[in-house]
């Protein structure tokens, strides 16, 4: 097996998930200015629900649809019940609320789904594909392609549709947007539904390859957030950064070892954050 090629395949697979999660995080952030630390829970909720329904004997297609819908409902309900009524609170308090929600969800998932990692059958069967000395499961290829298609679809949706413009207007100035006739509440709801759908989609595609358990959510939020932060909370760039992060992690693990993976990734995050803050401080211009 060729390690270089395998690193690319593994990096693209995890990058596809980070991209989907980062996109969801960015969409919710751009309507509320709140980094939703419970975003990865939509992944865990969908993955565990699909696995449990599959175990209960429900047809896989039905289980997948139900899991994604529940993930959408989960984030929508969080916004409706916890965030929207407190939209006048400081952003830091709202972020803490989302963190609390993440831990609450983790506890509920522990009680409902148990401690064991769960999984469900792949959507595409067959032997893995062997290209250039690397091995790529067909399910992983589906995940990568779907993630790219979803990214393009969301970018078009946000850039070329009325909803996209409303979303941007809501993000810039909710009160002004409301005066201009934008239904801010409905826009927020749609943004959280879309974010939940992307989290659910990531679970539907990845969990057949990598089991999910009640603790998975926060790790997913973290990786999605790193990609989103590197992208400056811009949806299209978040997808690109998701893939770059996945590839970077894979190459660090391959050539630096698993022990180096976390420190290197977080050093990069710190450097990127400092670089971005410099850009913000000097209003995007080079320092004189």
């Amino acid at each position: 097996m060729n390690l270089f090629t395998q690193s690319i395949y593994s990096g693209l697979t995890s990058g596809a998930v980070y991209a989907l999660l980062a996109m969801g995080l960015v969409i919710a952030f751009r309507t509320t200015r709140v980094v939703n630390l419970a975003h990865g829970e939509s992944y865990a909720v969908a993955g565990l629900v699909i696995a449990m329904l599959d175990r209960a004997g429900l047809p896989l297609a039905l289980a997948l649809g139900s899991g994604v819908l529940i993930a959408m409902a989960y984030l929508w309900a969080m916004d409706r019940v916890l965030l929207r009524p407190r939209s006048s609170w400081p952003v830091a308090s709202l972020i803490l609320i989302t963190l609390g929600m993440a831990f609450l969800t983790r506890g509920v998932l522990l009680v409902v789904a148990g401690v064991d990692p769960l999984s469900f059958p792949r959507l595409v069967a067959g032997p893995p594909l062997r290209w250039a000395g690397g091995i790529l499961p067909r399910q992983a290829l589906l995940l990568i392609v779907t993630s790219i298609v979803a990214a393009v679809a969301v970018a078009v949706f946000l850039g070329r549709t009325r909803f996209g413009r409303q979303l941007r207007a809501t993000a810039e100035h909710p009160d002004a947007a409301q005066l201009m006739g934008v239904n801010v509440a409905a826009t927020r709801a749609a943004a959280f539904l879309l974010a939940g759908g992307l989290g659910g989609l990531a679970a539907a595609l990845l969990v057949p390859l990598v089991p999910v358990d009640f603790q998975t959510g926060l790790g997913m939020t973290l990786r999605g957030f790193i990609a989103a932060a590197l992208a400056g909370m811009v949806p299209g760039a978040a997808v690109l950064c998701g893939f770059i992060l996945g590839l970077f992690e894979a190459f660090v693990t391959s050539y630096g070892g698993a022990l180096a993976s976390d420190p290197v990734v977080f050093v990069v995050l710190i450097v990127a954050a400092l670089w971005r803050s410099r850009s913000i401080r000097f209003e995007g211009r080079a320092r004189a």
Binding site: M1, N2, L3, Q6, S7, Y9, S10, T13, S14, L110, V115, D116, P117, S119, P121, P127, P128, G134, I135, P137, Q139, A140, L209, V210, P211, D213, Q215, T216, G219, A250, T253, S254, G257, A258, L259, S261, D262
Partner: protein, 383 residues
């Protein structure tokens, strides 16, 4: 007057709740013997902790159902350390404060090691982790073969199979570190080449690590990784369609682990196990009967079959029971330690500690097993 009556009623209710909640029947006149047990029942090692706790609870019920020990009921007090060293230390403090006279530690290497300084002066603590090699001067007794002994059993199997190159996957935690040291010591000395890759305990994909070790000359891959997270290695192994036999670690010969990987079963799944898992490998008829009795009782109580984790826990509770029935007063920890060092403990395999070694089993107790047809059997050589 009214206040006194209320207070009396409250005290009576509290006593009732305490009696019911403790798991010890209220009818016992004598004080219970408190046994503290640390077991990770949530987190990545839950597959290990839950099974061992259930076995210890079964033993508690069995002993108390037969009249207790020396007329006193046994009370098992559990603390969930989540395989976290800080929590394990708090657990030991709490269990000692609650009057535990002996301790069972079913956690993993890091947390077990973290608790050892707390019992420098006793009480005796028993643990099944092969990665813990207690100093003979300590009050810690380990009831499994050591990691070195288990790896010797693997080396013997590799020689029998004429395999001279393997891949090794080890976690980045303390257990993995010890596993790495063991293979680095033992394999080159046995003329076996190995390719090593490490994996983070929270990793969700092991395909890169497998790509690093599955070289063309590698005829077998050994994952030293324990607990439910090891399912990641098996899943990635299947994702990559690898053909070599995969050997899983000692702590993963459990029904719970098999359930986790049932959709991703490798072509040949092997495991480093105890001979007791396959009773026909036991030479002593009394040992075979002990396993058979335990298997029947467990089936009756829980409705499923026993696995290696049950047997690991059985060695722990058998050691505790031997001390309580035949050993000196547990208040004298030094006497208990000396007694264990000279008295063999009958379990499904006999444990022999000594003043030179606090490890109860050795290489002769271990075997390479294969999961076939829904059960573990002795593994035929690699083709």
């Amino acid at each position: 007057m009214k206040t006194r009556k209320r207070l009396g009623a409250l005290l009576a209710q509290t006593a009732w709740v305490v009696a019911i909640g403790s798991g010890v029947p209220a009818a016992w006149a004598a004080d219970p013997i408190n046994i503290g047990m640390i077991a990770p029942t949530t987190g990545v090692m839950a597959t290990v902790g839950q099974r061992q706790l259930a076995t210890a609870q079964w033993w508690e019920g069995e002993v108390n159902g037969k009249g207790g020990i020396k007329g006193r009921p046994v009370r098992l007090i559990h603390c969930n350390d989540e395989a976290n060293p800080e929590k394990a230390v708090s657990c030991v403090r709490d269990l000692l404060a609650r009057g535990s006279v002996l301790l069972i530690n079913s956690s993993v290497t890091g947390p077990i090691r973290a608790t050892m300084p707390l019992i420098r002066n006793g009480p005796v603590m028993v643990t099944p982790s092969p990665n813990v090699m207690p100093e003979p001067s300590s009050y810690v007794f380990q009831t499994s073969p050591s990691d070195m002994d288990l790896t010797r059993a693997l080396v013997e199997y590799l020689h029998r199979s004429k395999v001279d190159s393997i891949g090794v996957i080890a976690a980045t935690d303390a257990s993995g570190e010890l596993g790495v040291n063991t293979v680095k010591t033992l394999l080159p000395a046995s003329s076996i080449k190995f390719h090593l890759a490490r994996i983070d305990l929270r990793a969700t994909d092991a395909s890169i690590q497998l790509a690093q070790v599955a070289k063309s000359d590698v005829r077998l891959i050994y994952s030293t990784y324990s607990g439910g997270g090891a399912a990641t290695v098996v899943k990635s192994f299947n994702n990559l369609g690898l053909e070599q036999p995969l050997v899983v670690s000692y702590a993963n010969l459990s029904d719970q682990f098999i359930a986790l990987i049932r959709n991703d079963m490798p072509r040949r799944l092997l495991g480093l196990g105890l001979k007791g898992v396959v009773p026909e490998l036991l030479a002593d008829p009394a040992e075979r009967e002990r396993v058979a009795y335990f298997a029947r009782a467990w089936q009756q109580a829980k409705g499923d079959s026993i696995d290696q984790l049950n047997l690991n826990a059985l060695t722990l509770v058998d050691t505790i029971e031997a001390i309580l029935r035949n050993g000196p007063d547990t208040a004298d920890a030094a006497a208990v330690k000396a007694w264990l060092e000279k008295t063999p403990v009958r379990s499904f395999q006999t444990l022999r500690f000594s003043p030179q070694s606090h490890i109860g089993m050795n290489e002769s107790h271990a075997a390479i097993l294969e999961y076939k047809g829904g059960r573990w059997v002795p593994a035929p050589p690699v083709q």
